[in-house]
Structures are given as structure tokens and as C-alpha cells.
Symmetry: C2
Subunit: 246 residues, 2 copies
DNA sequence: CGTACCTTTGACTCGTGTCAACAATGGTGG
DNA sequence: CCACCATTGTTGACACGAGTCAAAGGTACG
């Protein structure tokens, strides 16, 4: 009897106050703001809250069948495409409140693999269930389109950066992006931990690890940032912006 | 009376057999294949078939309010982002049967401008009307998500190309892309006209016009392609592929 | 405590950008 | 119809930024 209640409690954990969307600090980032409370609960009910991933764990693998999109709850995830020849290209970093997995919509197959950069909690959003909810909640459908539109504009910003930007512009732009994404989450925009290695940074920005390292050293020597391993402090915000702008 | 009939005819031109989706050779490219005939007509009815654009005309402008997505019927269009500082980045080329405008979904504002590369006919698809149809035709909603997913994976392929590819890889990859897109439309995959200038090509691929020109010359000297102005003939398909692969 | 991995720094190379001159093309108006 | 000009594309010489190769220092993990 006691055991039975325990199991029931586990089944109901989606409704646990601590784990519902209505109680999540990040819901304003990953869900439309205009949802009614009962709509919010409907959405919350289809979301799976799986075991946390550890560093290096796969959230999904490139080539596997698309089923869900994912929202980062804590930690961070990288999205990486692995070509037939084995070369890897990181296509994005995802922080708490951000959504990934939309690379699977094209062929019903994930194009990228998603790998945890650190211990991370992830909400899984089964796509067929959210598609069904779209029929009842129009603002949800619109929100999904908006999320995909944001993914597209993000990728296009990266394209501009890669075609036009020097190594310094690429790195300063990324630092400013991380800074503003931290700010959105009410965290410090001037001091934060990089979730990714120098290697990942270079891969994402199309630079070698040596160049990444040299740029960090140069920025530090100029007194614009201070770095200690993965901890970054921005000392001269305006300088950083002006380098990023070119 | 005669005049009245004429006007009525004009209003009915969407139902003109020549201009309905059910009669369009390209419908298999831009619409889901699984549509019933009456569903196809429903979709066809909301689509606007505007006056053809001439070379250099804007289909939409970056910063204006998002209202529609667009399908290229004939001709070709480039999508270009213009930064505050005035630098331009071409983010895509769109050929007949391909769909653009999804960069407007993020902020309800087009991020890019879309400009005709030559005289082009474009179908305009008002987004709120297609959103409403989604409620009745689930396969249409899925198709829209798929189109956006394709846009995302296309952008990510370009990112890989820009971070890893040499000038030769970038250009040969683009030539192969154009070739296969022509093939999809039952046109020659070995001889075709480039719709864009060398300048546009270089801008898209992150290369200067001089480098583009030199790579074309080199490929021609090696007997892999033949070019004469914008006409490209692929002489050694396998060679081209092996260069593109790296 | 040792090993493996990640990062930093230096010397050198190479590909692409920059600057410049010139050729070819297409549109315009006399 | 042709001369003119603007635009676009080609080719060469040179410079420079990022890649490559190599070595050494730090840090974390078992």
C-alpha cells in the first residue's frame, strides 16, 4: 500500500509543483507568454522530464528517427553534425530555456547529434503531441513557427559572421551572445562560465584551437576581458562591442 | 455588361486552369504530395499570383512586417541580410519550386530582403490563411514544419562549408547543388545558367569576386567544367564531386 | 602520483584578400 | 548602327591573417 502510493507519486511527478511548466522560471523563454493557465497545464502534461544527462551523454543521435524537440532546463547542450567522412561541425550551443531538435523536422530524422556539455536536465516535448495541441491552441502553433524562425535567423547570423568576420570578431561576437543570453536568465552578463571547451569554440566558429587561444590571450593583454580557464569576465564591454562590430 | 464580365474574369483568374496548383508542374516540390484534390484546391484558392518581378525588384524588404511566404514559380530570387552598417550577406538563392520568406517568422518582421535575380513569377502564400488551413489539413502543417526544417538544415550545410571548405570546395559544392536542383526540375544537370553574378556567388560563399573568378578559371583549365559567362557545363562530374568532398 | 588531455606560445607556411590594370559585355543615346 | 560609358569579369603582384607543426606548461582524473 505504501509502495503503491510511492509509485503513484512517481507517475504524477509531471504534476508535481516543482516540475510543472507553470512553476518553471524558464517558461517565459520556451513557451508563449499568452497561454491561459489551463492551456499551460495541457502543454505541461505532455512534456517528459527525463533523468539528467551527464557530460558527453547523447540526447539524440544524428540519423535516428525524429520524435521530440527538447528544452534545456539546466546545464547546456551542443548540436553537432557528423559527416560521412567523419568530420564534425558544431551547429549550435543551447543554454537553459532554449529549444533544440528542430533539425529533425526535414526528413523525420535528426540531422545532428545533441551532446550534453555538462550535467544537464532536459524537458522532452513529443512532437506529435504538441502538433495535436496546436489544433486547440493557435498561439502554440504560432510559437513553434516563431522558434523555428529564430533558429533560422540564428544560423544566418552565424553565416554572416563566418563569411565576413575575423577571428577576433567571431570570438567577441560569441562572448557577447553568451553574455546576453545569461542576462535574459537574470544571471551576470559580465562574468560567466563558458560551457564549452576551446576546441568546441573553434569548431563552431571555424577557427583552430590555437587561434582561439591566441585571441583570448590578446584580448586579455589589452585588458578587455579576463579569463581563467572557462571563467570569463568582461572588463571593457564597449571595447568588446566595437571589436565585434568590426 | 461586357466590362463587368471582364472584371469578373480577372477576379477568377486564381481558378484559371493555367494558374491553379493542381495544374502546376512544380506543385510536387512546394506542396505535400499527400493532398486530396479538394484540399489542393483549398490551398490553391488562398494563393496570390502577382505580377512578375523584374531583375532587381524587391519581393519584400528587411524590416517590413511579415505577412506571407513565397514560392518561386519561374525565375530566381536571392535572400539578403543588410546590417545596420550597410554590409550585405546573401543567405540563399531560391529557384522554381522553392519557398522563401520564413525568416519573417521570428519577430513577425522579415529579417532579410528578397530580390529578383531575373524576371520571375512568384506565388504569394498569406501566412495567416495557410495557418488557418493547417487546422483542417494536418498534412499541410507537417509540410510547413518540414519546409522550415529544410531551411535550417540548408543553412547548417552552408555553415559547415564555410568553416571547413576551401574556395574550391565552396564553389564546386554550390555548382553541384544547382545541378541537382535543376535535375529535380527535369532540367539538365550538366549544363545550366547561373542565375547570379560572380559578386553574388562570392558574397554567398564568403569569397571575393577575384577568388571566385580564379577558381572558375582553374577548374576550366583542368577540363572539369566549361564556362562562358553564366553558362556552366560540367565536363567531369566525378572530379567535381571529389573536389567538393575534399 | 602519474597519465592523459587541454591549453598556451612560437616559428613558419600557405591560401585568400587587397590593390591595380585591363578585357569583355551590355545598355544608351546620338 | 555605332560610339560611349557603366558594369562585370579576368588576371597578376604582393601582403597578411589564420593554419600547421612542434614543444612545453597546466589541470583534472583515476
Amino acid at each position: 500500500m505504501a509502495l503503491h502510493m510511492l509509485i503513484d507519486n512517481k507517475h504524477l511527478c509531471n504534476h508535481d509543483k516543482r516540475l510543472s511548466c507553470s512553476n518553471c522560471r524558464l517558461s517565459s523563454l520556451c513557451l508563449p507568454i499568452s497561454l491561459e493557465l489551463d492551456e499551460l497545464d495541457q502543454v505541461s502534461d505532455v512534456i517528459l522530464r527525463n533523468q539528467p544527462l551527464h557530460k558527453g551523454d547523447y540526447l539524440y543521435r544524428g540519423g535516428s528517427t525524429f520524435s521530440s524537440i527538447f528544452a534545456v532546463r539546466s546545464g547546456s547542450v551542443k548540436s553537432v553534425y557528423i559527416s560521412e567522412e567523419g568530420s564534425e561541425q558544431i551547429t549550435g550551443f543551447y543554454l537553459p530555456g532554449e529549444i533544440l531538435g528542430m533539425d529533425g523536422l526535414d526528413n523525420n530524422t535528426y540531422r545532428n547529434s545533441a551532446i550534453a556539455l555538462e550535467t544537464s536536465s532536459i524537458c522532452e516535448i513529443p512532437f506529435n503531441k504538441i502538433e495535436a495541441l496546436n489544433q486547440q491552441i493557435p498561439s502554440l502553433q504560432r510559437h513553434l513557427f516563431q522558434l523555428m524562425g529564430r533558429e533560422i535567423t540564428n544560423d544566418q547570423q552565424l553565416i554572416s559572421l563566418l563569411t565576413k568576420g575575423s577571428s577576433e570578431q567571431r570570438i567577441t561576437t560569441l562572448l557577447l551572445s553568451l553574455s546576453s543570453r545569461n542576462h535574459r536568465r537574470q544571471l551576470s552578463s559580465i562574468e560567466f562560465l563558458l560551457p564549452m571547451s576551446r576546441t568546441d569554440l573553434g569548431n563552431y566558429l571555424g577557427l583552430t584551437i590555437e587561434t582561439v587561444s591566441r585571441v583570448f590571450s590578446r584580448l586579455q593583454k589589452q585588458g578587455i576581458i579576463h579569463t581563467e580557464r572557462r571563467l570569463v569576465s568582461i572588463l571593457e564591454f564597449d571595447e568588446l562591442k566595437s571589436i565585434a562590430a568590426g
